[in-house]
């Protein structure tokens, strides 16, 4: 799992690939939080390269969402593969996380 960060205006776009599971979930959270800047108005997690996320990974998504909501920063997740999208749907996380097909759509929604 590797993380790559870039900014589009005041929106932070983080790309993660590989797997997020119990073995690296807290590392994932730490590397995401390290990229946060107080001037960010939005954060997008681009999961185009993500092959798997376990419930431990979903928990980290929830922690990130709660943290950003508390600081009034918008948050979206985009570019889920069909198997990762299914995990979001089954767990009901699609009901509380703003999901988009690609980063352009996510940017248009929260930018």
């Amino acid at each position: 799992m590797a993380i790559n960060a870039e900014r589009e205006g005041s929106v932070l776009i983080l790309r993660a690939d590989g797997r997020i599971d119990g073995s690296n979930a807290s590392d994932f959270l730490a590397s995401v939080e390290k990229e946060f800047d107080n001037s960010d108005t939005g954060v997008i997690l681009d999961f185009a390269g993500l092959t798997y996320i376990s419930s431990a990974g979903l928990r980290i998504i929830l922690l990130i969402a709660k943290d950003l909501r508390g600081r009034d920063v918008s948050f979206a997740v985009c570019s889920l593969s069909s198997s990762v999208a299914e995990i979001f749907t089954i767990s009901g996380f699609d009901q509380i996380i703003d999901l988009h097909d690609n980063s352009a759509a996510a940017l248009a929604a929260i930018g």
């Binding site: 119990g22 979930a25 376990s54 419930s55 431990a56 979903l58 928990r59 980290i60 929830l62 922690l63 709660k66 749907t89 089954i90 767990s91 009901g92 996380f93 009901q95 509380i96």
Partner: protein, 388 residues
């Protein structure tokens, strides 16, 4: 802190005053203290009498028991003592033997005291690190024992007695992964001969997850006993779990009520894998997941429910993703497709048979690949009851 205690073993009587003289500063400052012995036997006796000796500095050639024999004996008294050997300059044969017998280092005669001090310090530094490693290993063992106890407590709350009557046939099992973790199932007696069935999977593993699992299970049982509607039970438990849930842990749950009499099963889903039904001809179908959210994520959600009727000799199976996400050596997942074909040639004739068949299929698929998640299964077989 007490000084490091060094046992010096040499048959040469002049060495004792020499060492005390040359090391007087370290002795006065409380860094070292010395004990002396004249041969290996006397050294062993000192080691047995004084269990606070940290290291041994020993000559090789001595009467009664030489230094090389002593080296072999020291670990039997205390394997954590470190030894440094004093040898004649260039005596590689004895030095090699001493190193092979576990000496930590060697110094040569005539003694260079600057080098000796350096060697002693290096030996003690190694000893300190070694002891720290031993201490953390012991802590880890203690912690692991506590986790094993937690894991046993956790498993002991799962029902292992299942009702067997003319109509009722229910059987569940959980195979925990190494860590204390997150899965549970439950079977709750309700009014009018109905049963509450639950299967659940807590996000993540470890002690926090197991505590969350315990409270989820208690809340679910409490809510289920007072309320016949699965959708309301899940909504209640969700609101209770969401209160002050700073850890963002959550639990996915299927909760169902089942009437053995009519075969009717009403279920609600909190973000869990949809159950399956095995039909009498061996076909298996997935139930509608009906889309509720995992419990503990956010308050105020409602949970839809659905009702199905289990035909005689059909089997309902609730399971956790430990089944579908079990991996084999090629990093392939067991997957839903395999789950759906387990019974194609051999539909189960009891709930126990159904549950065990799934465990067997997963075990066979995974082979020697270690299990990374709890595997849990709860089955209901609808007995055909002849009307009299």
């Amino acid at each position: 802190m007490a000084p490091y205690k060094i046992l010096v073993v040499d048959d040469e009587p002049d060495l004792e005053p020499l060492i005390l003289q040359r090391m007087r500063r370290a002795v006065r400052s409380g860094r070292y203290s010395f004990v002396f012995a004249r041969n290996g036997l006397e050294a062993l006796q000192k080691l047995r009498e004084q269990d606070d000796i940290d290291m041994v500095l020993s000559d090789i050639n001595m009467p009664q028991m030489d230094g090389l024999t002593l080296l072999e004996q020291i670990p039997k008294v205390d394997p954590n003592i470190r030894s440094v050997i004093i040898s004649a300059y260039g005596d590689m044969k004895n030095i090699r033997t001493a190193m092979n017998r576990g000496a930590f280092d060697f110094v040569t005669k005539p003694l260079d005291f600057k080098d000796l001090r350096h060697t002693i310090e290096r030996t003690l530094k190694h000893l300190i690190e070694w002891r720290a490693a031993l201490a953390s290993r012991d802590q880890l063992v203690t912690l692991q024992n506590e986790l094993d106890v937690a894991s046993k407590i956790q498993q002991s709350i799962l029902p292992t007695q299942f009702p067997t009557t003319r109509r009722v046939d229910i059987y569940g099992a959980m195979e925990p992964a190494r860590n204390v973790g997150g899965d549970f199932y439950d079977l709750i007696m309700l009014d009018q001969g109905k049963y509450g069935l639950a299967i659940a999977d807590v996000s993540d593993k470890g002690v926090p997850a197991s505590l969350f699992m315990m409270s989820s299970r208690t809340l679910l049982k409490g809510a289920a006993i007072g309320n016949p509607a699965p959708s309301e039970v899940l909504a209640d438990v969700n609101n209770l779990l969401t209160e002050e849930n700073d850890t963002a842990m959550f639990v996915t749950v299927i909760y169902a009520t089942y009437s053995p009499e009519s075969g009717r099963m009403t279920y609600s889903n909190g973000g869990h894998n949809p159950p399956i039904i095995v039909h009498t001809d061996g076909r298996t179908s997935l139930l509608d997941p009906i889309g509720g959210i995992a419990l503990g994520v956010a308050p105020g959600f409602s949970f839809p429910n659905d009702t199905i009727e289990l035909a005689p000799e059909e089997t309902l199976i609730l399971y956790t993703d430990g089944v579908t996400e079990a991996m084999n050596a090629d990093h392939e997942e067991f997957g839903v497709e395999r789950l759906l074909t387990i019974f194609s040639d051999n539909p189960p004739s009891s709930a126990k048979e159904a549950t065990l068949a799934i465990f067997n299929a997963v075990r066979e698929f995974a082979g020697p690949t270690p299990q990374s998640d709890d595997i849990t299964c709860l089955s209901v077989f609808r007995k055909a009851v002849s009307s009299k």
